[in-house]
Symmetry: C2
Subunit: 255 residues, 2 copies
Amino acid sequence: MCELLGMSANVPTDICFSFKGLAKRGGANGPHKDGWGMTFYEGKGCRTFKDPQPCSFSPIAKMLEDYPIKSELVVAHIRQANRGKIALENTHPFTRELWGKNWTFAHNGQLTDYQNLDIGCYQPIGETDSEYAFCYILYRLRQKYANEPNDWIEVFHFVKLCADELKQLGVFNLLFSDGQYLFVYCSTNLYWITRRSPFGKATLIDEDVEVDFQQHTTPNDIVSVVATNPLTSNETWQKIAPGQAHLFKHGEKIF
Amino acid sequence: MCELLGMSANVPTDICFSFKGLAKRGGANGPHKDGWGMTFYEGKGCRTFKDPQPCSFSPIAKMLEDYPIKSELVVAHIRQANRGKIALENTHPFTRELWGKNWTFAHNGQLTDYQNLDIGCYQPIGETDSEYAFCYILYRLRQKYANEPNDWIEVFHFVKLCADELKQLGVFNLLFSDGQYLFVYCSTNLYWITRRSPFGKATLIDEDVEVDFQQHTTPNDIVSVVATNPLTSNETWQKIAPGQAHLFKHGEKIF
């Protein structure tokens, strides 16, 4: 299985602390040695850093642990390959354009019989069930909304229906975003936490690192983090029930 | 104007030396302070590093100067903004999927009256004339070839016709690639060089750095580099004539 990490915030926030914990699971403390990737949104633009090499030995990951890129939305993934060889084209997150926006997708799990799903003109580049499922969701969205929709909450309720279908084909934990909304779907394991004032201290589970969020925030900051497993030992993470979805915007859970 | 850099090689090759020269032009020696980006292909996959900050002060650029990512095809761009604000969504190169392949586009120049071009279902994410032109070429390709074509040389001759049209709208120097072929089109300034055995020494124009390619190559290596201006002072770069296109594959110029 892979590890997912997502962040939604109301102010540009760096993810160095959380990524430091996650990165340890990429080859050092965990079996997730088959590549990793992280997408940062900054406005309508986004940039993805990825490496088919283990996260814990990657110079790119090292740079990102130390270089505080400020973003309001982050999607990260550490891979343990099941379908598709270890290669850059099979490394999450995947990003494609729809309605003039960058959509990003990261999946934890494994699907069977997914090749029969109709994906229309969307073609996967790599060999993963994940990218195929991404194409499926984009195709369903484009079928339902020929032009950019107005009601984004309705859109993400529709994405939940697609995720429910995909969950029938196997394990399907999902992070999905357009840079403004972070949609998360739990099939087996996914936790979330919202940090807001008064901020406290947090200690990573995977590494002997503590951060005092109060020193890095203002009283108005709201930051939600979603992860396959809790990243800190002294905070209360909420477990998402299987088959349940949440939507985050500007750091707040809105459903 | 911006600066373009492309590389095509028959073996995975790092671009650290050339990028070191180019990076100096991104804010230190040149006016190209409005962001930069570099796309590395590795098989069917690719990854793009980009930053809306000046290249010469970017921690990401610094990492790439020192971390030899081996790639058979690279497309890089340093931006001097004209159309579109300084922002990640306006930072080249742009990459989108067509026929199950990653297509990458970087443009130097400026177009007028491009908004009337029909781009069908392709929508730009940012505000640049460049991304609009990319959408136009992809739309024309999809119109002409509903499915993946067989004759790639014919495809790139068709891309040349599209580039000829776009050149009517302004300055249009172009790098365009699917990871296997590097198509380059000159509107005003573009130079190329092919390095092969016996390899010699080369000295950067922009920085006091010399490399002895013989120490980094085997006798079978063939590497072509394309750039807006020659990067080295002691080699002979070929100038491409305005309105002329070249196609590189595995390091060789094939037209």
